[in-house]
């Protein structure tokens, strides 16, 4: 091949690559504008006035990239119609009139924002956080919020090791309260001091101030019970990740590591009175902080759908809502 021919070929290659890259970005950017009507703002307020329970979740319809990740509101039945709200999030939670939405901020680098909104979906405050959104929760009285984000490069171990930060938020003032990393944790009566601790997946008790979360240190995972005002936590059970307290406050649904080397998760329910574990009928490895549909069923995201399974270990998993994740059950 002559030098001239090579140059021509190279020119053609560059032109094709530039064109393909520009087209890809332009197509993706088409998804920026959100399209939901402002009337949708009233959907939760109307439900509150009617005392009707609702499911709030992320709408994940890949056929419509414009609305992918938009918050949707629907009735509590698998085929209820969805109303899209003009709010895009990576993770959403709503309770007692307050919602929290983890969305990408406008800042450069790894900036995300925990946006706090009311039943009218109007922004009430926001807190800057760093990392990749993982979990979000609001306390049953609507005063406390918690978000967990993955922070890459935070680990001292090696590149490729990841760690999390969990932030407690004062919802009414829209301010950070503390990072769980700053609390004092005890395990079997002794203070945990190793630098490799990570916390994630907070769930709040109905009784104010008390919460549960995951602690990992030295390759082991624990359920911790904590006090926000006392800034303390203590481990109460091993091998619990992403706890979620049942509405009747007696049980915790969670992910338990099973299989060789703990390479998969199995959803379990822990009875807090007896500390008895019950494996749920879902056998796929689910990575989510589950949500209680009622005292007998849990909801969770798997492969871009919301699924449900009985909380007593019987039955079998069923698809509850397709093209959806981050479910949160709203009662008034």
């Amino acid at each position: 091949m002559s030098a001239k021919r090579r140059m021509q070929l190279f020119g053609a290659l560059v032109a094709a690559c530039v064109a393909a890259g520009v087209v890809a970005v332009v197509v993706a950017a088409g998804g920026v504008g959100t399209t939901a009507s402002t009337a949708a703002r009233d959907v939760l307020i109307a439900a509150r006035d009617d005392d009707a329970p609702r499911l709030v979740f992320r709408n994940l319809d890949r056929a419509k990239p414009q609305s992918f990740g938009q918050i949707a509101v629907a009735g509590l039945s698998p085929d209820a119609t969805r109303t899209l709200v003009q709010l895009k999030c990576e993770r959403v939670y709503f309770d007692a009139g307050s919602g929290i939405c983890l969305a990408r901020g406008t800042a450069f680098a790894s900036g995300y924002r925990a946006r706090i909104f009311g039943a009218d979906f109007k922004l009430r405050g926001q807190v800057d956080v760093e990392g990749v959104p993982s979990r979000a929760r609001i306390s049953p009285d609507g005063t406390l919020g918690s978000v967990t984000l993955f922070v890459s490069g935070h680990s001292y171990a090696d590149v490729g090791g990841f760690s999390t930060t969990t932030t407690l938020i004062d919802v009414s003032r829209g301010k950070k309260i503390a990072q769980l990393e700053d609390f004092t944790t005890t395990r079997a009566g002794r203070k945990v001091t190793s630098p490799d601790v990570n916390y994630w997946g907070v769930t709040f008790a109905r009784e104010r101030d008390r919460f549960y979360a995951t602690l990992t240190t030295g390759g082991r995972f624990y359920l911790v019970e904590g006090s926000v005002s006392g800034r303390t936590m203590k481990t109460i059970h091993p091998n619990v990740e992403c706890p979620s307290l049942s509405p009747d406050q007696t049980r915790i649904a969670y992910k338990k590591r099973v299989g060789p080397g703990g390479n998969r998760w199995r959803l379990h329910v822990l009875n807090l009175a007896t500390m008895r574990e019950t494996a749920l009928a879902e056998t796929r490895s689910v990575d989510d902080q589950v949500e209680w549909l009622d005292d007998d069923h849990v909801l969770y995201g798997f492969n871009e759908s919301v699924w449900t399974v009985p909380a007593g270990g019987s039955g079998r998993p069923q698809r509850y809502a397709a093209q959806a994740d981050s479910p949160t059950v709203v009662r008034w």
Partner: protein, 435 residues
């Protein structure tokens, strides 16, 4: 009548004369093109590296425990592949084709990421392929740079290549964040654009870089392809490669480079120490990287030239002396901003004085016939030592404190520098000194 039988050699001689008087050594077109190949490939690679952790954690189901283990195995595999590719390049005398396989594989991986499912197994397989691609291309590419450069200009040539390479590494995260800013969570778009950019890099290598062979010393568009090649003996066998590489000088460099790498705390750790001491926001991490890289990029060429003049071994040791200063700064009770600025400047200078200079140093020692194998051996040895150093630093930090870890590494670095200085001195008689 005086006849010039070979126009290219005359041009080359004239350019070198001019170059000496004015702007120092000229690096050949091949080196610049290889640098551009690396620039584009690195933009693509860093785009993926920037978003992949986000992607894995966000979309994939990811367990941090398993990741570290898999990560180690993959790095080991890539290092072994690198040894093989260095030798194959030498044996077939087709460094360019071997390097092209590596660059092509890495470009293909970006396309794979754009189209593959979000299953962790698929992504791990692609990341492994990417690492193998990097393992394959490094040694033959460095061998090409060294073969296309007169021995006395090796430092400058590697400096130019590393500076271009570094520009790519800085642009990559910018591109990735720009795309994510335009379209939130458009990970697939990031991968598609990364593939397009990687393809341009691959195209530069395949279509524009001349194969380093005597018959290529033709004029290409009025410019001389300054890629000389000494007559090389028959194909080398594996045994010969091992024998030639096993000369005392090379062994001394291999051991010195390995020992120095073992005493080098990775920049990730140094940033973490800075963060630990100053309570920096995690959002500043990318900025620390950019600051250090800027210094590296600006100094790579001048330091490479200095190494050509005063000796590569000396500059290499000076570089590690700078690293010692970094350790010292981290222990010193300095004010926040000053500490960060000083540490970043010293780190950048350290990289400029060690990364390309080591490749130039090794190229000056290893005979051309086994250049690829020799460079690959050095890469693998330093790579393995860096991995061990990370494990050691993490362990010391966990068991004691950051200050202890730095002190231990400082002491180890002093020992390694002593060992290196002794072995360089012992074997210095044929070191190239110019000027």
């Amino acid at each position: 009548m005086y006849q010039v039988s070979d126009a290219s050699s005359l041009l080359r001689a004239r350019r070198r004369l001019l170059g000496r008087d004015t702007s120092g050594p000229q690096v050949s077109r091949t080196v610049v093109l290889l640098g551009l190949t690396s620039l584009f490939t690195d933009i693509a690679a860093e785009m993926v590296v920037t978003v992949l952790p986000l992607y894995l954690v966000y979309v994939g189901q990811f367990s941090p425990v398993a990741f570290g283990f898999v990560d180690g195995i993959q790095r080991g595999a890539a290092a072994l592949v690198g040894l093989a590719s260095g030798f194959i390049g030498d044996r077939s005398k087709r460094h360019k084709e071997v390097a092209a396989v590596g660059y092509g594989l890495s470009a293909f991986v970006k396309l794979g990421l754009a189209t593959a499912s979000t299953a962790l197994s698929a992504i791990s397989a692609l990341v492994l392929l990417d690492r193998i691609g990097k393992g394959i291309r490094t040694a033959p590419r460095d061998a090409m740079i060294s073969i296309c450069t007169p021995k006395e200009d090796l430092g400058a040539a590697f400096g130019v290549h590393r500076a271009l390479d570094t520009i790519g590494a800085m642009l990559g995260p910018l591109f990735a964040f720009a795309i994510l800013a335009i379209a939130a969570n458009a990970f697939t778009t990031v991968f598609v654009v990364a593939f397009c950019i990687a393809l341009i890099g691959f195209g530069i290598l395949v279509l524009l870089v001349p194969q380093p062979a005597p018959e290529n010393e033709a004029e290409v568009e009025g410019k001389v392809v300054e890629c000389e090649r000494e007559p090389v003996r028959e194909r080398v066998s594996l045994r010969e490669a091992v024998l030639v590489i096993g000369t005392p000088r090379f062994r001394a460099l291999l051991i010195a480079a390995g020992a120095l790498a073992l005493a080098t705390a990775s920049d990730a750790f140094i940033f973490l120490v800075l963060q630990d001491k100053l309570d920096l926001s995690l959002g500043l991490f990318p900025l620390l990287f950019v600051g250090m890289t800027c210094v590296y990029m600006l100094l790579a060429v001048p330091v490479g030239r200095i190494a050509d003049r005063i000796g590569r071994g000396r500059v290499l040791l000076c570089g590690y002396a700078l690293l010692l200063c970094v350790y010292g700064t981290l222990l010193a009770p300095l004010d926040g901003t000053l500490l960060v600025a000083l540490a970043l400047a010293l780190m950048g200078a350290f990289y400029a004085a060690t990364d390309g200079v080591l490749a130039a140093f090794a190229s000056g020692i290893v005979p051309e016939a086994v250049r690829g194998s020799g460079l690959a051996l050095i890469n693998t040895a330093t790579g393995v030592m860096k991995l061990l150093s990370s494990i050691a630093f993490g362990a010391i930090w966990t068991l004691t404190s950051t200050d202890t870890a730095i002190l231990v590494f400082g002491a180890a670095l002093l020992v390694a520098m002593g060992l290196a200085a002794w072995s360089f001195l012992r074997t210095r008689e044929d070191e190239v000194h110019v000027g």
